[in-house]
Symmetry: C2
Subunit: 359 residues, 2 copies
């Protein structure tokens, strides 16, 4: 057991979700440099950390505003003094639109829409706030997530937004599949041509995804990027080839609580800590460090079941191990605080302030 | 959209995690009656609700104390006045043992152990508390979770516990696999015979699992049961044949936020609400009510992707739908509050007070 592992267990107990601030800062600097070199604005997605403290590190390094996936995240960030907020989500319903109007009074906000219903609702929020709300049209270029499916639909929705009192058409929001960058270019070229014909200025073309960072600058017309996971990284980013183990800033410290069988063990990080997120088909529920050959073969709520059959040095009960999660964004969302370390020492805790917000 | 769905969305926004108190109370009464009829003490597992309010409903209906899976759950329950607490988990490490000593001073606590390392640690907590700590030996009868693997190991650990100053051997803790009740009987018979030979009284034989409720009373020697999920139920309990849809007290209310394609849609409940828990191999990520033929085919963090290809009446953007989760225990763990309804009306909120505790 490392001295740091022992100290974390003694101070906080396990499972503890720990970030190395040196690695966080290196990740922030590296991706800011990639965006700067590509001439693309960096608008990091805060869904990964949900922490105003970390968002402020991103801004200090050169990011231009932030991206939020929920209104609740945007509210927490604005409360902490962050501004220039893009909410990349269709906001619907009276309760959300009332909150959006309140948010608009204290921060500069841009919102996504992929339907007339969403756009019409946003207009009621703008009216209530007494301000113009900038709206980007969300476009699907192959992921089959949110977003209109064709350039013609994008132009039609942009026209509707531009014609709606209280709304301003601001541009397009994309999440290009990493392997479909050329198809995304075709979509974007057709949409921007249609917008030009309609006399609509397209100020923002926003792309997303940490796995797309190697492609930055390739999409002609893109103005900004919304990387999220890069701030901490995880096994998925390693599998996508955009991070190494040294770039993974977050690890879960867990204690071996049972060694009932010779070839198996149990750690105190289960699905209520690591989550059941398969990470797009990775082997096991996280990568155990310092225990070569061990696999997290299965999870129950508070148990991680270790297969130690291929593990040379098998851990004893009470040993503290470190785990790199499959998908870091959902693990951060399980806890109220992250333990922060630097240079092998505990330096404090960081609140996951926007966790647990409804919508 | 139902009037209740509209009212919940208007009051709380979506995704909202909602429990019907009439169904909760019926579930509590039904399972208490099953335990009473079987002559087995009911010691419900609070991991499902993490709420002292609901634990008190279970006690008021006749439960004898509660079961917790984490020390943090036990602390919150004791703080709220619950007593007679079984922690069915190996507690290890200086931080946890200090907290356990503090907990022992204000509540009657029994703890599980499956190794000498755990038992020896528990003795330090007992010494610090200046009280005797009752310990049950956790036994694995086929699930390959925590627990000693053989009756001989159970007896040996019981002897060690009985011989350790500050500890009292209280009995055995089992989680019988639903299909291996006879093997569990053999294990238990051999262990109790060994304990008798060693002159050790076995006051508690605790079994667990809502799926085992139909077998209650079959295991000769069992004294108490620890059902958890029955209080809310979910798709897993329906699949196990121990609950019907009418017994499912918890539903997630979600809004359709996108209908970008004719055969697909998106709701605002993703893996940060429904979790990625597959529920033991169920089809899709939850059961959508009021939308026959729709499937939650995939999740991203804040999106549930609906396959509507087999759905006759397809929902519009803004519509509110209800979802029965695959596994309710992990969904409750995602939120700080549950919305409580009764007779089709909102009656308040219930705090998930023990959520987010480390260990």
């Amino acid at each position: 057991m490392s001295p740091l592992g022992a100290e974390i267990a003694r101070t906080f107990g396990t499972p503890a979700v720990v970030i190395d601030l040196d690695v966080v800062e290196a990740n922030i600097a590296r991706v800011q440099a990639i965006c700067d070199a590509a001439g693309v604005v960096n608008r990091p997605h805060v869904k990964t950390h949900k922490s105003p403290e970390i968002a402020k590190l991103q801004i200090a390094a050169g990011a231009r505003g932030i991206t939020c996936q929920k209104l609740g995240e945007a509210e927490v960030m604005a409360e902490a003094g962050l501004d220039d907020i893009l909410i990349s989500y269709n906001l619907l319903g009276e309760q959300k639109l009332g909150r959006l109007a309140a948010l608009m009074r204290r921060a500069s906000v841009t919102v996504a829409a992929d339907s007339a219903v969403t756009a019409d609702g946003l207009a009621t929020a703008a009216a209530r706030a007494g301000r113009t709300l900038d709206v980007v049209v969300e476009c699907d270029t192959g992921m089959k997530r949110a977003g209109v499916e064709t350039p013609a639909e994008a132009v039609a929705l942009a026209r509707r937004i531009a014609a709606t009192p209280g709304l301003g058409f601001a541009g397009l929001l994309l999440y290009p599949p990493p392997d479909r960058w050329p198809a995304t270019q075709s979509f974007l070229d057709a949409a921007t041509a249609g917008l030009r014909d309609a006399g609509l200025a397209c100020r923002i073309v926003s792309t997303g995804g940490s796995p797309n960072l190697p492609h930055l600058g390739e999409l002609k017309g893109a103005t900004e990027h919304r990387p999220g996971t890069y701030v901490f990284n995880d096994r998925m980013q390693m599998a996508a080839g955009v991070a190494t183990l040294a770039d993974c800033a977050l690890t879960v410290y867990a204690t071996v609580v049972s060694r009932a069988g010779a070839e198996r063990g149990i750690v105190d990080a289960g699905s209520k800590t690591l989550t059941s997120d398969p990470g797009g088909g990775l082997d096991g529920h996280g990568l155990i460090l310092d225990l070569a050959g061990a696999r997290i073969a299965a999870l129950s709520e508070e148990h991680g079941f270790l297969d130690l059959s291929a593990c040379g040095e098998r851990p004893g009960v009470g040993e503290v191990v470190r785990i790199v999660p499959n998908h870091v964004c959902v693990v951060v969302n399980m806890v109220d605080r992250l333990v922060a370390v630097r240079g092998g020492a505990i330096v404090g805790e960081i609140a996951v302030a926007a966790r647990g917000r409804i919508g």
